[in-house]
């Protein structure tokens, strides 16, 4: 019997973005966190990660969203980037076939290296550049369909690999909220422990007890709750 104002259980979830440069990873985060979109945006400068809450009926998920900071362009992302990630958004651009190949590479890499229970969502972005869903009349001039990867092809691959799948537009906002909610819902309850970042890692052991620099401060402020 929970009282009215009792807060829902809340947990932090590390989410990493992966995918080729310019597919719209940073734009998806900007849309999700600030409900904003900027044409020709500079790469993210400043924060190592952003946070955004996702309220589910029974619990609150606080996403700790890590962006590549452009490292994917010239360097392999360091292993520390996806270590302990409980979820990943692997993004491709529906107008560029090569980006799906790259996305598949990342999925394979995550399946090999990341935490065993990681939730991966495959996201085809720039949906606004595609023509209307059933393009029976390709004659229409103004709305040029730039789609190069069909929904069915990507979806089939996602199903095969057991990934969540969405097509989104960071520009219009279509499906952006939906992807994050789907991930939040898919995170297994068992891997959620309040206030820990990542409960399992590469070799499959429990998150170890570690030295806490805030241990003493917490005690001081008396917030042992």
């Amino acid at each position: 019997m929970s009282s009215e104002g009792a807060p829902k259980p809340s947990s932090s979830v590390k989410l990493v973005l992966l995918g080729e440069a310019a597919v719209g990873k940073s734009s998806l985060v900007l849309r999700f966190v600030n409900n904003d979109f900027q044409e020709n945006k500079e790469p993210t400068i400043g924060a190592a990660f952003l946070t955004q809450k996702c309220n589910l009926p029974t619990r609150t998920i606080k996403f700790e969203i890590w962006d590549t900071a452009g490292q994917e362009r010239f360097a392999s992302l360091a292993p520390m980037y996806y270590r302990n990630a409980q979820s990943a958004l692997v993004v491709y651009d529906i107008t560029k076939p090569t980006t799906l190949l790259k996305a598949k590479h990342w999925v394979a890499e995550l399946q090999r290296q990341a935490s065993p229970g990681i939730v991966i969502a495959l996201v085809g972005n720039k949906l606004d550049l595609a023509g209307p869903p059933d393009a029976s009349s390709p004659g229409e001039e103004e709305e040029e369909d730039r789609r190069a990867i069909s929904t069915s092809e990507a979806k089939a691959y996602a199903e095969e690999e057991g990934l969540l799948f969405y097509e989104t537009s960071a520009k219009s906002g279509e499906n952006v909220q939906a992807v994050f909610e789907a991930i939040a819902n898919a995170i297994p309850e068992s891997t959620l422990k309040p206030k820990t970042v990542g409960t399992r890692q590469g070799m499959g052991q429990e998150q170890p007890v570690r030295v806490d620099f805030d241990a003493e401060r917490g005690a001081k402020e008396g917030c042992a709750c």
Binding site: P43, A69, Q71
Partner: protein, 620 residues
């Protein structure tokens, strides 16, 4: 690597390399608003401080480049996930009072890492070694100080940081505690000594009850020094000294006296002790100890192990030993979660993790990391990259000695004055052993009050304690840094033993390492039903490190007329080869930063934008 062209050909700073120092400089300069391009011809971050999976280690072993040589790997047991390991080339210990931690606390970066505690130091001491005593008589110089010291042990709990871990200090702010501990420890303890009756010139008459009374008052849990087979825990606090079952009362007095001596040496205003240090600057550690504190021989090895120095006690300069011991003793007792510990280790590959987090930090604050690309030519401010691209920079930071990044034929002509820097180096023989057992006894709590267990430990094999098949005995200590799986470096039922010694391969260095590992497995690894764990994988290598004063590094690369030329090259010396994180690192990077930015102020500090975002995140 994706072959995009660089977004710009004009940079403020080009940093070549992704080792600890280049990465720290890179992120600090980037946070200071400079446009930084960080390159590494290797395909991974970390250079000589990197961490590898087993597959990667095997690959790396195939084409050794300086400073590495004589690399060999061997798979012995079955390895199911060779890519899942993170084995460190630089599994550095980070002392709680180190300048690295001070810096990370200051810029709120400690939470970017997973920290594990380094537990006890263990020394391999077979019974015969325990009986040896030095022939030397009682020295006079410090007797007075020594006697007073142990008698004054009771005062330590009030004054010193070394022992205060046993008190509950809930209200201490963590961020300032280490420095507080350090300064407390270095305060002269006048009241303490004054309250003592003058001691006679005899061996110190400290009774066990004196010390135990002191120790129990501060450690209600009552700890004793543990023994694991032939491995004995090193006594390093007054409490340990009081309880050590291996010490006679007389030894307790000397040992307590020596700890006291160290505390006084930690105080730069204690003229008398600074003079003693000065006078003995060339005296060896063992010579000094046996003449001033005639302790059993094993105690010398035991104390020496705390220094983590690779030289044997007889070749270790007193001042180096004292400095290292002070670092240890001012750190112990200060870690809130685990008072029995003095140092931490960074999970997922030690210093390799620093290089990854800092390199990412460069990107996050607007810089660019490029792997798989080096520099082929530097003329003035114009730099030709290995893919032919040409860029310019006001400053170019290059590693002093690194063949993989040092293909710069033209640099020599612009930087003649550079090679005067002392080119002295030292080589250490290292190995990484993957063990088929978690070696749990090494990773259990020492004190009841420790809230977390340690996940690393140090084991030392003193001079003469190991033997090769050819009958050679070790002429220098062999160290083992043990890591549990909680460091994320190996699987749940495994552990990793990192060995290091100055004995070179040709003198049996690799064999001594194997013998040492075997001892550990036999004496600590056996699980009661007689099965000894095995080595599943081993990698052995030799690595050359710079030695000498930090002051001599970072020689200015421009002469008067070169001031006209925009391009300026700074050569960055590599990290030293110690087992603990090179204490000079932060300061030497700050000096380079100062040359470029004009001040050391604000080094690595968050930018305004970062601070705002950080606060937003904190608020949520």
């Amino acid at each position: 690597m994706d072959d995009y062209t660089l977004p710009s050909t004009i940079w403020d700073i080009i940093v070549l390399g992704t080792g600890v120092k280049p990465s720290l400089l890179s992120v600090a300069l980037s946070r200071a608003g400079k446009k930084v391009l960080q390159l590494d011809p290797r395909e991974y971050y970390g250079a000589t401080e990197t961490a590898f999976s087993i597959d990667e280690l095997e690959q790396w072993a195939k084409s050794p480049l300086p400073p590495f040589s004589h690399i060999g790997t061997e798979r012995i047991g079955e390895i199911t996930r060779p890519r899942g390991y993170t084995l460190a080339l630089a599994p550095h210990l980070v002392y709680w009072g180190s300048s690295l931690l001070e810096l990370l606390r200051e810029v709120k970066m400690t939470s970017s890492f997973t920290w594990q505690a380094v537990g006890s130091w263990w020394v391999y001491l077979p019974e015969p070694a325990m009986e040896e005593r030095p022939a030397t008589g009682i020295g006079g110089l410090l007797l007075d100080a020594g006697v007073k010291a142990v008698k004054a042990a009771a005062a330590v709990k009030k004054k010193g940081g070394w022992n205060k871990g046993r008190k509950k200090r809930k209200d201490v702010d963590v961020d300032t505690e280490a420095s507080a501990a350090a300064s407390e420890a270095s305060k002269p303890t006048t009241e303490a000594t004054e309250t003592q009756s003058p001691a006679g010139p005899e061996a110190p008459e400290v009774t066990l009850s004196d010390l135990t009374a002191e120790a129990t008052s501060t450690a209600p849990s009552g700890s004793t020094l543990r023994k694991l087979g032939t491995f004995r825990e090193v006594p390093c606090t007054f409490e340990d000294v009081a309880f050590s079952p291996d010490l006679q009362d007389r030894d307790r007095g000397y040992l307590g006296g020596f700890l006291r001596f160290l505390m006084k040496c930690a105080d730069p205003t204690d003229v008398k002790h600074q003079e003693i240090l000065q006078k003995n600057s060339e005296t060896s550690f063992s010579e000094f100890l046996s003449s001033e504190y005639p302790l059993p021989t094993w105690t010398i090895a035991s104390l020496h192990s705390l220094t983590l120095l690779q030289t044997p006690p007889a070749e270790t300069k007193l001042k180096d030993a004292v400095q290292a011991l002070i670092t240890h003793l001012t750190s112990i007792g200060s870690i809130p979660d685990i008072r029995s510990s003095a140092a931490l280790t960074i999970a997922y590959g030690g210093s390799a993790e620093l290089t990854q987090v800092w390199s990412r930090g460069t990107a996050v604050s607007g810089g660019l990391n490029v792997l798989g690309r080096g520099i082929t030519k530097i003329v003035g401010d114009t730099v030709t990259l290995s893919n032919g691209e040409v860029v310019t920079a006001d400053w170019i930071l290059v590693p002093e000695e690194d063949p993989e990044t040092h293909e710069t034929s033209e640099t020599e002509s612009t930087t003649e004055a550079t090679t005067k820097a002392t080119n002295s180096t030292v080589s250490y023989t290292k190995s990484i052993h993957l063990i088929s057992s978690p070696l749990n006894p090494l990773f259990t709590r020492k004190l009841e009050t420790d809230r977390i267990p340690p996940n690393a430990a140090v084991l030392t094999f003193p001079v003469g304690s190991l033997c090769t098949s050819a009958g050679l005995t070790n002429t220098a200590p062999v160290y083992i840094i043990a890591h549990s799986s909680a460091t994320g470096e190996c699987g749940k039922d495994e552990s990793v033993l990192y060995t290091s010694t100055q004995i070179l391969k040709d003198d049996g260095g690799y064999e001594f390492a194997s013998a040492a590992v075997r001892r550990v497995l036999e004496e600590i690894g056996s699980d009661g039903n007689g099965t000894t764990p095995e080595v599943k994988f081993v990698c052995r290598y030799t690595q050359k490190f710079p030695v000498g004063d930090d002051e001599e590094e970072m020689v200015a690369q421009e002469t008067e007329e070169e001031e006209e030329v925009k391009g300026r090259i700074v050569k960055i010396k590599g990290m030293k080869g110690g087992l603990a994180f090179d204490e000079g690192t932060v300061e030497s990077c700050k000096r380079v930063y100062e040359r470029i930015i004009g001040t050391k102020e604000g080094f690595l500090r968050m930018t305004e934008q970062m601070r705002r975002q950080y606060e937003e995140i904190e608020d949520q």
